[in-house]
Symmetry: C2
Subunit: 466 residues, 2 copies
């Protein structure tokens, strides 16, 4: 129970609900605003909970019975009043003036009613009203904190943020799951056309362009002069998937550092970042994680994060596969080493390790052309998948091929990627890095099941509302 | 001149060049890496300047004549050595071991040679080698610092970052200068097609989608529950412009706050942010700004930033236009009040004010549908342009129309924007905000002429390399 001292103030200070709730004086005049979340009519007074999104905790206000018309569920109001204490010792505000800003007619079109929780799928049907839902707002604040913590961690560790392009002529891994981009206006295209045979998608930029699937190759060019760089932004995949860990538009943190020698350097960088960032996230956002999991009785904050202090096991692909093969009865499909590690096998590995783990030293044919072949066995590349419980792979990384001729022999399109070969020819260095799926990391931290609920405006096949 | 004390160390500590240069001991064993920027052969020794992108200052290393083959311009090297002092009292490293990592053959294909500065247009021809240019790297560090300062300023002032979508069905202002997006793969489109007549651009998301031109409307929906929000990310314009302040892909900071009452609230928020962020930028990046302007003899750091402490004048559109009209001889085109304020007129206004200024209260027909009409004169909207010297408009903002029926009468596509009208109907509040062109702000701070040189991978008509 908090203790408050009484003060006598003259002016109303305008505060957010978060600020009001941290006051430790009663009799303090405050002016605040928010949306009505709940109203309870008692003998003499009306009690309402209001919230403005600045915090997960609602502020209780005490108002007069005559305010009834003006404090309806969902309405926006402004109040002036003085701070007081509830019988349970929490801060409340006894209103002196109450102004209705915008009423909320419960005409059947507004999707929510008081004192009821709704399924995420239902909340997702009205993207424009999601910010009225306390669990969604808690997620947004988690996302906000996590973004800020990551950026500051990298800033303080000498990594320079370099915005890699969204529109690019390079499709990176050539997987074909890309979106094509061209101007919408036929008039513009007509005015820019230089010959009759020019295709509309070649006109604006002189060649076909796509939405980025990875900024890694661009980052490598920047690392060849700035040493430690990263990019953190939207990435796109035109894939017909409705899985709970795939989106057409998602955020990826990609990091690249020069002068690395072994894969351990890259694993170290990721591990340190992952642990430090998670610990800071816990400090700033554990209240929010509790709000998100309020209706999940099995959720316990401590055990949810007990992996943070553990060492993350590192196993080779061969070791991982032996383990999978020994447990083949546990899977719906029989393990096939040529097909790599499936999603259910990833889950098994993380459960087996009771936390995040690395799978390293992959068969060359299962990974990208730019990964470095091992000197002692060129069939193996110095790459890792980073796997966590419930989600599976959240990050992948590698040392990049630094041998000009080896790279040249593997490169999918030498003409288009001539610049990438150039990096090895003129003052080349060995670089290494990883890409981390930001939404998957956030799912892992918050225990949110669907990736569609950890991004404000999810896009997936047949879904692009607003 | 710095004073150094002598120490006797045993182990080589691996450091970035920035870290080496902040050492204050001589005799300190260090190991560091970088690219050779310059080599001078003296009687007994070779002197080389090396840099790794962590700082704008080069590190001088002293090596033996026998290292000549290994310290060529542009090469990447690793050195071990001990710290010493140059005759001018600067820190240097006397190398004990020097390892060539990647040589840089000066075969005519590498675009740079030692001791020469190159024009930005020339440097831009090889985007993948821009990170070898000290002025470009100084710009990247400026961009990095400015991004970090803005995000932390907003974090500390209670604004929540909300990533608005890149792919959207909404073209916001309906200006038509938009890019259309669809999957590249014909096979994917075929497999998802539901009827023969379906257009390829409607298949993946059920309707046409575009690259965002503004996240403002999305932000407004979030502000109606989270109160203070912002988005800071890539934005797109399919415009056939080669001007020094336009790009096809650029970054915009958009901010929205609820419970505003007048346009002054929005102007205050922008002014405070602009001044505080600029002051912090100056603290962290003035060295970089000096490097960028090294070859510009007229540039003086103090006078470049003397506007920061001034009050930013606020004038109405009418007042601004009278001023322009009185000075009509100064313009290449005669002023026309119906055409608004031209670029050269913006420059005139900022010069007249000797710094940034606001133009408020615009004719309704010259601004967007969502801006609030003044109660006392509905022909005028509560909007501003924020204009700075050399660049012109860097930001625009307004109070948003909060009257349901007034907005409905003006909305360009009521069916598609029904959700936007909903915001006024259910717990509506007055919101206001602005959009700030990040690259233009960076141009203003760094004195860089072309917007193509303040972004790592510029995209403009006929230009999308890498």
């Amino acid at each position: 129970m908090i203790k408050l001292k009484t003060i006598f103030s003259r002016n109303y200070c305008t505060s957010s609900i978060k600020e009001v709730l941290t006051l430790n004086t009663i009799g303090q005049k405050v002016k605040t605003k928010g949306w009505v979340k709940n109203v309870r009519s008692m003998k003499e007074h009306l009690f309402a909970d209001i919230n403005d999104g600045s915090t997960g905790e609602n502020l209780q206000i005490v108002c007069s019975k005559s305010d009834k018309e003006r404090v309806g569920f969902g309405s926006s109001i402004e109040i002036k009043g003085v701070t007081g204490l509830t019988p349970k010792g929490k801060l409340e505000v006894i209103t002196e003036e109450l102004k209705l800003i915008g009423k909320c007619p419960l005409d059947g079109k507004y999707p929510y009613v008081a004192r009821q929780t709704f399924a995420p799928e239902y909340i997702r049907e009205n993207l424009h009203f999601r910010s009225r839902v306390s669990s969604f707002n808690a997620m947004i604040r988690c996302r906000h904190h996590l973004t800020n913590i990551i950026n500051n961690y990298l800033y303080n560790n000498g990594f320079i943020q370099v915005n890699t392009p969204i529109i690019t002529g390079n499709d990176c891994e050539g997987a074909g799951e890309i979106f094509m981009v061209k101007p919408e206006s036929e008039d513009l295209l007509k005015s820019m056309k230089r010959n009759e045979n020019e295709k509309s998608e070649d006109i604006f930029f002189d060649h076909k362009v796509f939405l980025t699937v990875s900024g890694q190759l661009h980052l490598e060019s920047m690392a060849h002069g700035l040493s430690k760089v990263y990019t953190f932004g939207p990435t796109f995949r035109a894939e017909n998937s409705k899985s709970p860990i795939h989106l057409s538009e998602f955020y990826m943190l990609e990091l690249e550092q020069s002068f690395v020698t072994t894969l351990d350097d890259v694993i170290d960088t990721l591990t340190k970042m992952f642990k430090t960032v998670t610990n800071e996230f816990l400090e700033k956002s554990s209240n929010e994680v509790v709000i998100i999991n309020k209706s999940n009785k099995e959720f316990k904050l401590e055990s949810h994060f007990d992996w943070v202090e553990k060492e993350f096991p590192v196993m080779t692909f061969q070791e991982a596969f032996s383990l999978i093969d020994k447990n083949k009865d546990k899977f719906t499909k029989p393990p096939n080493i040529l097909a790599g590690i499936s999603k259910e096998q990833e889950h098994f590995l993380a459960d087996y390790c009771q936390g995040p783990c690395f799978v390293i030293d992959w068969p060359k044919d299962q990974k990208s052309f730019y990964m470095r072949q091992k000197k002692e066995n060129p069939e193996i590349v110095e790459a890792f998948d980073f796997i966590v419980p419930r989600i599976g792979e959240v990050a992948g990384g590698s040392v990049r091929e630094d041998e000009f001729e080896t790279l040249r022999a593997k490169i999918p399109n030498e003409e288009a990627l001539n610049w990438y070969l150039d990096l090895r020819k003129y003052g080349g260095v060995t670089t290494g890095g990883f890409g981390l799926g930001f939404e998957r990391y956030l799912q892992f931290l918050t225990n949110i099941t669907s990736i569609k609920d950890v991004i404000p405006f999810p896009r997936w096949p047949h879904n692009c509302s607003m």
